[in-house]
């Protein structure tokens, strides 16, 4: 893919996210892996005017506290480095996700598409008091074997093998957070058995994610 194709791909994906309400334009943060480089939108396209694409070299990524790319881009780079299965990372600030970020804790598996696509649970990470490298380490740990993580009081990071996958992860995560919140009014939630949740996750990863 040449740079202009990558720019087009990134901006088309970003527009899909804002059009579907997955993320508001002011909170847009998207990154995309191509070969061993990470491409990201450094500011919103409207502000920048040129739709400029930032580039970081994933292989040489290191955090020293003075990197001008900013914590979020460093975090994305670290995720790409540790997770070869994820090629797109997006932030989502949908309403149920935001409430869950503020409440803290862990989102349990209440819906089977959540267990399949997102993971057997999703963690809310309180990283704000930590220095950058420790925060990144904590977030990476919380993301293990999952496609999403919630950052306390901020937003969710959702990952996928492509834009459609990342978008679906965000949609299903929002629905899972909604179920976690609303079942509190319905006498509590009935959780999916942990073994069945792992089984569904495994079947999804090794069977359905390979289909077109």
């Amino acid at each position: 893919m040449d740079q202009s194709t990558i720019r087009e791909h990134l901006l088309t994906g970003s527009k899909k996210l804002t059009d579907t309400g997955i993320v508001s334009a002011r909170s847009l943060s998207v990154s995309f892996r191509h070969k061993d480089k990470m491409f990201f939108v450094p500011v919103t396209p409207e502000q920048d005017g040129s739709g400029a694409i930032g580039v970081m070299d994933i292989a040489r990524f290191s955090y020293d506290g003075n990197d001008p790319a900013g914590f979020e881009n460093q975090l994305h780079c670290a995720i790409f480095k540790h997770r070869r299965d994820l090629n797109v990372l997006i932030h989502s600030d949908q309403v149920n996700i935001l409430t869950s970020c503020r409440a803290g804790g862990t989102i349990p598996p209440l819906l089977d598409d959540f267990a399949q696509l997102v993971g057997v649970s999703v963690n809310v990470v309180d990283d704000q008091s930590l220095p950058g490298d420790k925060a990144i380490s904590k977030i990476l740990h919380a993301l293990k074997r999952r496609n999403a993580v919630l950052l306390s009081n901020r937003f969710a990071i959702c990952g996928g093998k492509d834009f459609d996958d990342a978008l679906a992860t965000a949609q299903v995560l929002e629905k899972g957070c909604k179920a976690d919140i609303e079942t509190k009014c319905l006498g509590g939630a009935v959780r999916i058995n942990k073994i069945e949740a792992y089984l569904m996750r495994w079947v999804y990863l090794f069977k359905y994610s390979k289909l077109k």
């Binding site: 309403v95 819906l111 509190k184 009014c185 959780r191």
Partner: protein, 213 residues
């Protein structure tokens, strides 16, 4: 309906399912009755936006036999069971719609409906016990819970909405979504004492009660 017409309808309706936010990606499935022995259903594991009418699968209602290398939806058994037990039904939609999914994950096992929603769907919507997708247990559980209603909630999963035609099935799905959200707010009002509940007040209550868990 002839087979090409049924394939066209199911393909078009699959996109509608996605556009109306009733499913994401490849989840959910949709079918219509072609004749007394066959129905047409979406194939397994292909995103709706990539489907063409030729991709739709023709399945035997009585023994689930199908032709070709692609597999029909893994929930074909539920669709077939409905077509066998409800001869007036010509369309079945399986959705993962948000509010219905929330209710399906709760401990309330029956959702009472009133007014127009009751007239469209039925008076009491049952939540079928949880079963792994594609299993016989799910088929039995869903059919038992459906009864004579036009919708059933599948525990921890989503909903099945049926109709005498496809538009009817979609109307059932959208009505069910509204009814489920109203049900949640009604239950919230009971436990919180808030007389005019909305989702904003529900979230505020949730944060005040459950933050820092």
């Amino acid at each position: 309906m002839d087979i090409p017409g049924a394939k066209e309808l199911v393909c078009r309706s699959g996109l509608r399912l996605q556009e109306q936010g009733l499913v994401a990606r490849t989840w959910g499935n949709i079918s219509c009755r072609a004749d007394e022995n066959r129905f047409v259903i979406t194939p397994s594991g292909i995103t709706y936006s990539r489907l063409t009418p030729d991709d739709m699968m023709v399945v035997n209602i009585h023994d689930l036999a199908f032709a070709g290398n692609t597999k029909p939806s893994s929930e074909s058994g539920v669709h077939a069971g409905i077509y066998q037990s409800r001869p007036e039904i010509t369309a079945v939609i399986h959705t993962h719609q948000a509010a219905a999914s929330s209710v399906s994950a709760g401990r309330e096992r029956v959702v009472p409906l009133k007014g127009e929603a009751a007239a469209i769907i039925g008076h009491n919507i049952n939540i079928a016990g949880y079963a792994l997708p594609g299993t016989r247990k799910l088929i039995r559980s869903a059919l038992n819970a459906l009864g004579n209603n036009y919708a059933v909630l599948l525990g921890n999963h989503g909903a099945i909405c049926i109709g005498t035609d496809m538009d009817h099935a979609f109307k059932v799905a959208m009505t069910l979504e509204t009814a489920c959200q109203e049900f949640v707010l009604e239950r919230f009002s009971r436990i919180s004492g808030i007389r005019h509940p909305d989702l904003t007040s529900l979230h505020e209550w949730y944060l005040n009660t459950y933050s820092g868990r």
